[in-house]
């Protein structure tokens, strides 16, 4: 029997969904393998957050310190590494988030524990830890295992595990003292900045016509815009379109953009990377146009058109215009 650590991620006084998802998975593994679940909560004045997760762990280790008010990998890694060295948890789960992706590799070097990132499933098979992940834009899956070690570190992809509590646990909330006298803050938090809002809010749209890198050239976006206009829908896009400055950030769908929930989402030249699809889980119906029949988007879309968008979109536009003329 050993412990499973879950590093609880929170921002602006709210526990992030990934934390609940990791706790769910930790409870599931703990149930089958008689481990216990320890939630690690670092923050400042976060007692209320500790209460919120107390039915999902056996212990909540709570560090309350001014210096943990905002996430800081420099501070976090010192504290978490010290805790890991103290109790040697068999497994430590960290979110595969912007923050977790900074923290986890540092911890791997500090503790000497093997690290697997962006895991979509985790199991112990004959006592051996196996993590499932994806490579090559989701076109290939892999199972990875690790060299023998007292413990392992895994980062977990958002949205793959349930957010609900699992089983009956009642955590003891244990306040920990800061184990380090002085942590040099080499990276100082300044502020959070929001993406500028635009003239449309895609999160409220009922019909989204979304364009991806398959569009090839900036000028070609006109084609999508005309189709959207004919249909009375709103144009949104995948990240590369924003990266290239072809459309503004507020039209981007996905983890680093917006979550949308239209009745219909038409994805044009979008491969269906999970960071994109995470933004459309609330969509009613997804129609994908992509010329690669192996594009991951066809795994989650409701309807697929495997063809060149430059043939299909004009035909769609013509058809819609013809109907609307009546």
């Amino acid at each position: 029997m050993s412990e499973i650590f879950v590093i609880v991620e929170h921002r602006l006084n709210e526990i992030r969904d990934i934390s609940f998802e990791m706790l769910w998975k930790a409870c599931e593994l703990a149930q089958t393998h008689s481990h216990t679940v320890t939630a690690i909560l670092l923050g400042h004045e976060v007692n209320a957050l500790a209460e919120q997760i107390s039915d999902r762990a056996d212990t909540v280790l709570l560090f309350d310190d001014e210096r943990c008010k905002n996430f800081n990998a420099g501070t976090y890694k010192e504290i978490v590494a010290a805790l890991i060295q103290e109790s040697n948890p068999i497994l430590t789960l960290i979110g595969n988030t912007s923050w977790g992706m900074e923290l986890a590799p540092c911890l791997a070097v500090k503790t000497g524990y093997p690290l697997g990132t962006d895991c979509i499933d985790i199991s112990f098979q004959d006592g051996k830890l196996i993590a499932q992940r994806q490579m090559y834009d989701g076109k290939i899956f892999s199972n990875i295992s690790f060299a023998d070690s007292p413990g392992y570190l895994l980062t977990v992809r958002s949205g793959v595990f349930a957010k609900d509590p699992l089983g009956q646990r009642k955590a003891e909330i244990v306040k920990k003292d800061f184990p380090l006298a002085e942590v040099p803050l080499k990276k100082e938090f300044v502020e959070y900045v929001e993406t500028a809002a635009g003239d449309v809010d895609i999160s409220q749209a009922e019909l989204l016509i979304s364009v991806g890198r398959g569009i090839g050239e900036e000028e070609n976006i006109t084609l999508v815009r005309e189709f959207a206009e004919a249909l009375g829908g709103i144009v949104s896009c995948s990240r590369p379109i924003v990266d290239k400055n072809w459309l503004p950030k507020y039209l981007q769908v996905g983890t680093s953009g917006k979550s949308v929930s239209p009745k219909v989402y038409i994805a044009i030249g979008i491969s269906g990377a999970f960071q994109h699809m995470a933004g459309v889980t609330g969509a009613g119906t997804i129609i994908a146009i992509n010329k690669d029949h192996k594009a991951p988007i066809f795994r989650t879309a409701d309807y697929g058109i495997v063809d060149d968008l430059f043939k299909i979109v004009p035909a769609l536009k013509d058809k819609v215009q013809e109907l609307k003329k009546g």
Partner: protein, 260 residues
Amino acid sequence: MDIVVCVKRVPLTEEVDLVIDEQKKGIKKDQLAFVLNDWDNYAIEEAILIKERHGGTVTAVTVGNEDDEEVLRRCLAMGADRAVRVEAGDMSRFDSYGITKILCRVVKEQPYDLIFTGVLANDDYHGMVGMMMAEELGINHANMVIGIEVEDGKLQTTSELEGGLGEVSIVQLPALLAIQTGINEPRYVSILGIRKAAKKELKVIDLSELGMTDEELAPRALIDEVYLPPETEGAQILSGDPAAIATEVVEILTKKGVME
């Protein structure tokens, strides 16, 4: 400001049916086209932009085989001053930590104020080499960087968080930043530019010259097996000529109540 940028050559996997190799440890790569990892393209551009504004040097480094020099030449053509390749033989025997240690060893040999990596490499999708390097070198770091302003002896960085939020921080130099896509608009590189850059220094170091032990480089994470995605029900495929497909799509849109 002397900047080292770690770059990797990765296969293009769009519109190809990937084939698993005999050992089931990877994919067959002989038929694939290769490019500079997208994130690294932004990283090298950012380094060159900083050099153009503040002076200094840019060095591109890769651990790989001779074919991988292609991406180094591209970096030189973009404006890097020199390039280094570590010839490491069979790359499949290393995990990300092994690559990290090799990169750190090379980086330590030269003066630097700043190191850039990409957030992720498109092939393995690990996203760990950058921050592991920072920890291994004991320098400051920031991840998912979408904005950099150089100030006296320090940087103001913006990191991208989920949901379109940015986190602004002050980072003291020397530092390692993992660069996210969209931070700039990478410049165009012509064939001629690549040819011209052939004169620039491209140094090759053999791994054996670095005096690293097998034990030091032994992998801690191992691929047991790779496989094609499990079958799912998937999308209902609409087929026919474009006009027929359009008719079907319009029917769906009408049924879902979005065609007024």
